[in-house]
Subunit: 245 residues, 2 copies
C-alpha cells in the first residue's frame, strides 16, 4: 500500500515546480520502468502491481509498494497502468562538451513534451546522445517526455542552456532546418556537427538563425505545409547518417 503522504508526493511530481524542488521525476509503464531500473539512474521508490512483481523479480534495497492497477493509474499520468511507476532521482547536469566526430541536436524552444520525447527516441535510434535544449524547451523530466521517449531518456543526455552561448563558441558546422535551405538529399554532411530544430509554430528564432552556418531543408513533393518537428528530425538524422556511409 501507498500512504497518503507518499501518494501526495508522487502526484506532486507531475508538476515541474515540485520535480525541481524534489529533484525527482516519474517513470511510468512496464517498459520504461524496466529500462530505468537497468540504467544508471537511481530509483527512489517503486509502486507496482502484484502481477508485475511476480513476473519481474526486483531484488535489492529498492523501496517497493504494491498497488492495484487502479491505484497506480490514479498516482500517475497514464490513463491506465497495470504494471509499475517509479520515482527516480534526477542526475546533475554535466557541462556540455563534444567530440570532433560527434553529432549533437539542439532544440530552440521545442514546446511540446511529446515532441521532445520523440526526438530523444529518434536521437537514440541514430546514435546521437547529446541534446542541447533552450531554457524554453519542454522539460526533459515531464512525464509526457519520458513516455514518448520509450526508454531513450536513459541513454540520451539533455543539456538545458543558452543555445546562443554554446553555438557562439561551437567550432563545427551548425545545420538548421529552414523552409529555404539546401536540399538535404544533396548536402554532404560531415562526421560531426550540430543540428538545430526550432519551435513548432515559429521555427528557429532570429537570435539563433544568425548562428546557423548551413541552412538545410527537407524537399517537399506534395502539398502539406510542413512536417512535425519530430518527423523532420527523423528524416534529417537519416540523411546525416546515410551521407556518411
Amino acid at each position: 500500500m501507498v500512504s497518503k503522504t507518499t501518494a501526495k508526493f508522487i502526484k506532486s511530481l507531475q508538476l515541474k515546480k515540485y520535480r525541481k524542488q524534489e529533484q525527482c521525476f516519474l517513470v511510468e509503464g512496464a517498459k520504461s520502468v524496466l529500462e530505468v531500473l537497468q540504467s544508471d539512474f537511481e530509483v527512489m521508490l517503486l509502486v507496482a502491481t502484484q502481477p508485475f512483481l511476480d513476473v519481474y523479480s526486483l531484488g535489492g534495497k529498492l523501496e517497493v509498494h504494491v498497488a492495484t492497477a487502479q491505484q497506480l493509474s490514479s498516482l500517475g499520468t497514464f490513463k491506465s497502468n497495470d504494471a509499475a511507476l517509479a520515482v527516480v532521482k534526477m542526475k546533475e547536469q554535466e557541462p556540455f562538451s563534444f567530440e570532433q566526430q560527434e553529432w549533437c541536436i539542439a532544440l530552440d524552444d521545442v514546446n511540446d513534451p511529446g515532441n521532445m520525447g520523440s526526438i530523444l527516441r529518434i536521437a537514440d535510434w541514430y546514435g546521437i546522445y547529446k541534446v542541447l535544449a533552450s531554457e524554453q524547451t519542454a522539460d526533459f523530466y515531464n512525464p509526457k517526455t519520458i513516455a514518448a521517449s520509450k526508454g531513450s531518456f536513459c541513454r540520451v543526455q539533455a543539456y538545458y542552456t543558452s543555445l546562443k552561448e554554446v553555438l557562439t563558441q561551437y567550432p563545427q558546422p551548425v545545420y538548421g532546418a529552414f523552409m529555404e535551405g539546401e536540399d538535404i538529399h544533396k548536402v554532404q554532411f560531415g562526421r560531426g556537427g550540430m543540428l538545430v530544430l526550432g519551435n513548432e509554430a515559429n521555427g528557429i528564432s532570429l537570435a539563433i538563425s544568425s548562428l546557423i552556418t548551413k541552412k538545410i531543408t527537407i524537399p517537399r513533393y506534395g502539398k502539406a505545409e510542413s512536417l512535425n518537428v519530430a518527423m523532420a528530425t527523423a528524416v534529417i538524422c537519416d540523411n546525416i547518417k546515410r551521407s556518411q556511409k
Copy 2:
C-alpha cells in the same frame, strides 16, 4: 448561439458510431477549418467565435453559429479552441485504383488516430495521395486523426478495405517495414509501389507479411528499440523519393 439539440448532435460526432450514422465528422481549429472550407468537402455547419468571423469573411449559404471560445471548446475535443469548429459531410469512398507510376501507403492495423493523422500529413508532404487502411486501422474521421493531419485529410484519400484482397491482386512491388529487411539506404525504389506499415505493437501481421514482395528496414545506429510508425513512414517516404531523383 447553438441550440441544445445542435450541441448534442455536434458532441455525438466525437464517437465513431454517430459519425457513421450521421455520415458527418468534426473539424476543429482555425487552420483545419479554413482548409476544409476551401476543399471539396461539404461543410454542413460552422460554429465560430466572433473574432474568427471578423477576420475571415465566410459568405455563401453556410449555416454559421456564433459561440464563445468556452462554448466552442465544450462542443469539441480540443482543450481550447478560440476559432472555429465545422461539421463536415463524409465523402463516399470510391473503389481503390492506382496508376503505374504511383506510390500508395497501406496501413495494417495502425491503431492510434494520432499516428494515422501524422501519416496522412507525411503522405501529403511526399505527394502520396492514397492510403489503404485495414478495417482495424484508426478511423480517418476521428477528431484526433483530423487534428494530427493538419489539413492533409483534405488532400489524401483513405480506402478502408481488406488489405489482403487488394494486395493479392496488386501487380506492383509491395514494400514492408520489418526489423530484418534490406537497408533502405541501399534499396532502389521504383517509380510506383505500395508501402505497408504495421501495427504499433505487433508490426505487420502474418497474413499480410506473405504478400510483401520486398522487406525493407531503416538502419539503426544507436540503441532505441524501434521508431514510432509515423516517424518510420516519414523516413521511408524520404528514401523512396530521393532514390527517384
